[in-house]
């Protein structure tokens, strides 16, 4: 009889209503208990711990830095003006350079070794000026060279022995005069 009652209790073990206090339910089914007034004490302990915790600050979103701001309609005008200014500067710079190059070319062509070939690159109107420049350069360069030779001759004569001086003077002097 007793065994039958026990079996009946066991059979309905899981069917027993689980309504009511959750702590009572756990005590009834699992045999787990709690210290007296546990939840009240635990609540106050948690609240105290939270007060001790450092307050968490929400990270501030970094502000977008405004470097330069303009009304949209002025933006396009400013951009166009800047482009025109930049283009003008580049164009003026180039045109000046081309004039310089032309002048420099004339001078450079006059100094080249093959004057006849260089003259082919010039206009007919520039030929006279070119010829003058070439002639001037020729005379100037040759005069300069002969002056240098004369200086060398005098300096060398001081170094070379007296016995050879006469021959040396003759040869070099003739060369210099011929040139």
């Amino acid at each position: 009889m007793k065994k039958s009652k026990e079996n009946s209790n066991q059979k309905h073990f899981l069917n027993t209503s689980v309504k009511g206090n959750i702590s009572d339910r756990h005590k009834a089914f699992l045999g787990t208990t709690l210290p007296e007034d546990y939840f009240a004490k635990s609540k106050s302990s948690i609240l105290n711990k939270i007060k001790e915790e450092p307050q968490i600050e929400q990270p501030k979103k970094p502000k977008k830095k405004l470097v330069f701001w303009m009304q949209p309609q002025f933006k396009y005008i400013a951009a166009a003006s800047l482009t025109i200014l930049l283009s003008l500067t580049v164009w003026l710079q180039n045109s000046r350079n081309s004039e310089d190059i032309q002048e420099n070319n004339f001078e450079q062509l006059a100094l080249t070794d093959d004057v006849l070939v260089s003259s082919l690159f010039l206009d007919d109107t520039e030929i006279d000026a070119f010829a003058e420049t070439v002639l001037f350069n020729e005379v100037l360069v040759k005069a300069e060279l002969s002056e240098q030779n004369l200086d060398n001759l005098i300096l060398n004569s001081l170094i070379i022995e007296d016995s050879l001086l006469e021959d040396y003077m003759d040869d070099k002097l003739i060369e210099t005069i011929i040139l």
């Binding site: 073990f13 959750i22 939840f39 635990s42 609540k43 939270i50 915790e53």
Partner: protein, 179 residues
């Protein structure tokens, strides 16, 4: 009594947060305690984990995105905190003892706050023999009185699978209790 939505709103308001948190403790402290206690076994451990859980809730509630209910969200936090606690404190203990199942029952029966009779001890032994999934589902459904939808949100498993797992567990208990 506040609805959950109102409570969340207050918790997110810095001026009302502390008062709302006190209300939150009144509503959920006991439920979360028992959920934790079944995972970490002893009252002492459950007390530590409960405090950690509520401190984490307090710190993170501003970021709560309300994709699930507050209740489910806190359950998930308490579950994660319990697992972290076990990993941290019981790993070495389990390694020393060797058999986790044996150690679970030993720790439980030796706990100061366990007062189970023969049937309750037997129920613990049966639950302890379940797979991890069966244990979680059965305890959440039967003792914590959560709906399958809530359990599904906490464990990220489909409701149909959870129902099947739960009824299998119930069947096993009924069969073994009657033996």
């Amino acid at each position: 009594m506040n609805t959950e939505a109102e409570l969340v709103k207050k918790l997110k308001n810095p001026t009302l947060k502390d008062m709302a948190f006190s209300e939150l403790l009144d509503v959920y402290q006991e439920r979360l305690y028992w959920h934790i206690r079944k995972i970490v076994i002893t009252h002492e451990n459950a007390d530590d984990v409960l405090q950690n859980t509520f401190i984490r809730v307090y710190k993170s509630v501003a970021n709560f995105q309300e994709k699930s209910t507050l209740h489910t969200w806190m359950y998930r936090i308490s579950f994660n905190e319990s697992m972290r606690y076990l990993d941290k404190n019981n790993k070495k203990q389990h390694e020393d003892i060797g058999d986790i199942s044996e150690s679970y029952l030993e720790v439980l029966f030796e706990d100061e706050y366990f007062d189970g009779d023969e049937i309750q001890r037997k129920l613990h032994q049966i639950i302890n023999g379940f797979t991890e999934k069966q244990q979680k589902v059965f305890q959440m459904k039967y003792f914590d009185d959560l709906s399958f939808r809530q359990i599904s949100e906490i464990l990220s498993k489909p409701e149909s699978t959870l129902k099947s797992t739960y009824y299998t567990a119930v069947k096993i208990i009924e069969e073994k209790i009657l033996l």
